[in-house]
């Protein structure tokens, strides 16, 4: 099985420090605010959130139709998009019909998923990211490194350089000064834009509302300043009732950044201008059909699993093959793209379980990883590995043979990493660490002597 080359990321000391310290900060803050003292009912809330998501996705058709009725009753329009191409085509056509040249966008992983910006640009429309992190990356031509902190890997110096190059600003050393530069550039765009595009954190079926959770106010501006607002959302973002927000809003910001609530939480129901909700499938109904892995769709995109994942903290966001990185990406990508797209992905985990422990909606990520591994092995086994495990299982059924073979193998294994005989898994082990010195006698031999 081919695995990605992560040596460049692991060998970049500056990048390693940036990832490690930023994720630690987010993880530490989360831990503090969900501690037993700070939030005694945290575990009940997680279960409650899980149960609401389960109920909603088990009755998704009902709630989506309810949402559509309520949005249209308020003068909005719902567009059902089978895939990214349909979603992008609709937005492009709408922009063309309304003569829109500039679009302001607030941070949305869903629009990243369907490459909306590239589509709009190809149609001659300027789409400007207005979330500070996203804006930095748009200028430097990069993709989000993290679900909630897209420019997590950038230092202040990096950002200053990017602004100098693209906005011709003076070098700055404080985040405040850099933010001001972006703010001045973005204000122009907000005034110019004929359309605003946002994602949606929650779609509330009983009130036909969409909820946006953010810290910079740019999502509120994007959704209200331009005459036309288009929200793009996966169908799984729906919750039944406004009162369910009491559960999810308590969990989302705490899990993401350790804030009790984000700085801005917008509830958009009344529609002053034109409003469109693009409801995206793009493979979600296929996940929905798989009962044992359906809960992958419960994700509220808080990023807690990334911040607490020792693998993400080593390899960062760009070694993952799709927009969703970290543990949640490891279970979403194979299900959206097919397991053969990146067969190594579910195996790139020590199964430590930290992701499942911090997930605010209790997605059993480790269990799903194991299931995906089994799916991969069933659909396209590696013959050498398959036969190794077949032989291994047979040996393990025969204790006497096992005892002889295991001792012989251990005694024969080279412990020097440069040995000619250090091949395959042994070579990989020795590339990083030493092997223990094999004992003179196994436990079963010692035990026999002891019982005599």
């Amino acid at each position: 099985m081919k695995t990605p080359d992560v040596t460049a990321t692991l060998g970049d000391g500056k990048l390693q420090l940036a990832i490690y310290s930023a994720t630690a900060r987010l993880a530490d803050r989360r831990r503090e605010v969900v501690s037993l003292e700070a939030m005694p009912d945290y575990q009940q809330l997680r279960q409650h959130a899980h149960d609401i998501k389960k109920h909603t996705l088990d009755h998704l058709d009902y709630y989506l139709e309810q949402l559509e009725r309520n949005i249209e009753a308020r003068g909005g329009k719902v567009i059902w998009a089978k895939d990214g191409a349909e979603a992008c085509a609709f937005i492009q056509k709408l922009a063309r019909e309304r003569g829109v040249k500039v679009i302001v966008k607030s941070k949305s992983m869903t629009t990243e998923e369907i490459h909306l910006n590239e589509h709009l640009e190809a149609g001659g429309i300027e789409a400007v990211e207005t979330d500070l992190g996203e804006y930095i990356l748009q200028l430097s031509g990069e993709k989000p490194f993290h679900i909630i902190a897209p420019a997590l890997h950038k230092t202040i110096g990096d950002v200053s350089n990017i602004f100098e190059r693209h906005l011709h600003s003076q070098p700055e050393t404080s985040p405040e000064a850099l933010t001001k530069i972006a703010r001045i550039a973005l204000r122009e765009k907000f005034l110019e834009a004929g359309m605003g595009i946002t994602g949606a954190n929650f779609l509330v079926a009983d009130s036909g509302a969409i909820v946006l959770v953010e810290n910079e106010g740019n999502a509120r501006l994007s959704s209200t300043a331009p005459k036309i607002h288009v929200a793009v959302s996966g169908i799984e973002k729906i919750i039944p009732r406004a009162q369910d927000l009491a559960v999810f809003l308590k969990l989302l910001a705490r899990s993401a950044t350790g804030q009790p609530l984000s700085v801005y939480t917008s509830f958009l129901a009344a529609v002053p201008g034109e409003f469109y909700l693009v409801l995206l499938d793009n493979g979600r109904t296929r996940l929905l059909a798989d009962e044992s892995k359906r809960q992958s769709l419960y994700c509220i995109r808080c990023g807690a699993c990334l911040n607490n994942c020792p693998v993400y903290r080593k390899i960062g966001g760009y070694n993952y093959p799709w927009v969703y990185s970290g543990p949640i990406g490891k279970i979403l990508t194979p299900q959206f793209m097919g397991i053969e797209h990146d067969p190594w992905l579910p195996f790139a985990s020590s199964l430590c379980g930290a992701c499942g422990e911090v997930c605010p909606v209790k997605i059993e990520i480790p269990r799903i990883l194991l299931e995906l591994r089994s799916n991969k092995v069933s659909s396209s086994p590696d013959n050498v590995e398959l036969w190794s495990f077949k032989v291994w299982a047979w040996v393990m059924k025969h204790p006497k043979i096992y005892a002889k073979l295991a001792s012989a193998a251990l005694a024969a294994a080279p412990t020097d990493k440069d040995s000619f005989f250090a091949v395959g898994p042994l070579k990989n082990w020795l590339s990083q660490r030493d092997l223990p010195v094999p004992p003179a006698k196994s436990f079963r031999e010692l035990w026999k002597k002891r019982s005599k």
């Binding site: 695995t3 790139a348 499942g356 299982a393 059924k397 990083q432 006698k441 196994s442």
Partner: protein
């Protein structure tokens, strides 16, 4: 008298036999009648975690046959214990033998603190020690305070916490050889946390985590040693 059947695991049997002996000593001193069933081999976890469920099932079946009728099965590893008590049910859904087995399988420290209600085994061990929470013991078996209490009651031993304590050592079974650079990087990060404590020994309830840590410590030229909890508790 409490009857105990040891499951020492394949790693302890072949690589760290003294851990099994130490476990038998501690349990013996605590008044248990200890047996070792020679037909035992592995719990099947390497195949299960690699996606080979049929092969894992073969080994799980062998385990069930081997330990038929055992009153208490005490396991030298949190991870293998969890494989048996949590994951056998996924391999053999609805199998009554698995259902009957679950309440009789204990990780070593868990058996001492929860069943025998022992927190002081009368051991003596001089030195500064830090405890590594192995992931499956911590997150699947909820073992956190037990080993610490046992260590704190050892004469001469001073327990110091590493920060962060709950981050994986990077072993992860076949992960360690499928993704050696990531696994090695995780081990080195863990070692930095261990070194910051100033401890001379790192203790865990899982020999495979210790194999990873010991290997990485030795590669880095560190003098810090690794010991299974049972070895510390058997020290006099």
């Amino acid at each position: 008298m409490v009857r105990v059947s040891l499951f020492v695991t394949c790693v302890v049997d072949q690589v760290f036999p003294n851990v099994g002996i130490a476990m038998a000593d501690v349990l013996g001193r605590a008044g248990c009648e200890v047996e070792f069933r020679e037909a035992q081999t592995c719990c099947g976890q390497p195949a299960f975690n690699s996606g080979y469920r049929d092969e894992a099932r073969t080994v799980a079946e062998h385990f069930l046959k081997t330990f038929e009728g055992a009153e208490n099965i005490v396991v030298a590893s949190g991870s293998c214990c969890s494989m048996i008590s949590h994951h056998f049910a996924e391999l053999l859904p609805g199998d009554h033998r698995v259902h009957d087995l679950e309440p009789r399988v204990w990780e070593f420290s868990q058996f001492l603190t929860n069943v025998l209600k022992v927190e002081d085994v009368g051991a003596t061990f001089e030195g500064l020690v830090t405890y590594h929470d192995s992931c499956h013991a911590l997150r699947e078996l909820k073992i956190k305070d037990g080993p610490r209490k046992l260590l704190q009651n050892v004469r001469g031993l001073r327990l110091v916490e590493m920060e962060p304590a709950e981050e994986c050592c990077g072993f992860g079974g076949t992960f360690s050889v499928k993704f050696p650079e990531i696994s090695g990087g995780m081990a080195r990060t863990k070692i930095e946390a261990i070194e910051r404590t100033g401890a001379a020994t790192v203790v865990s309830v899982d020999s495979s985590c210790l194999m990873q840590l010991q290997g990485a410590l030795s590669r880095s030229g560190s003098k810090i040693g690794t010991m299974h909890l049972a070895e510390v508790l058997a020290s006099k």
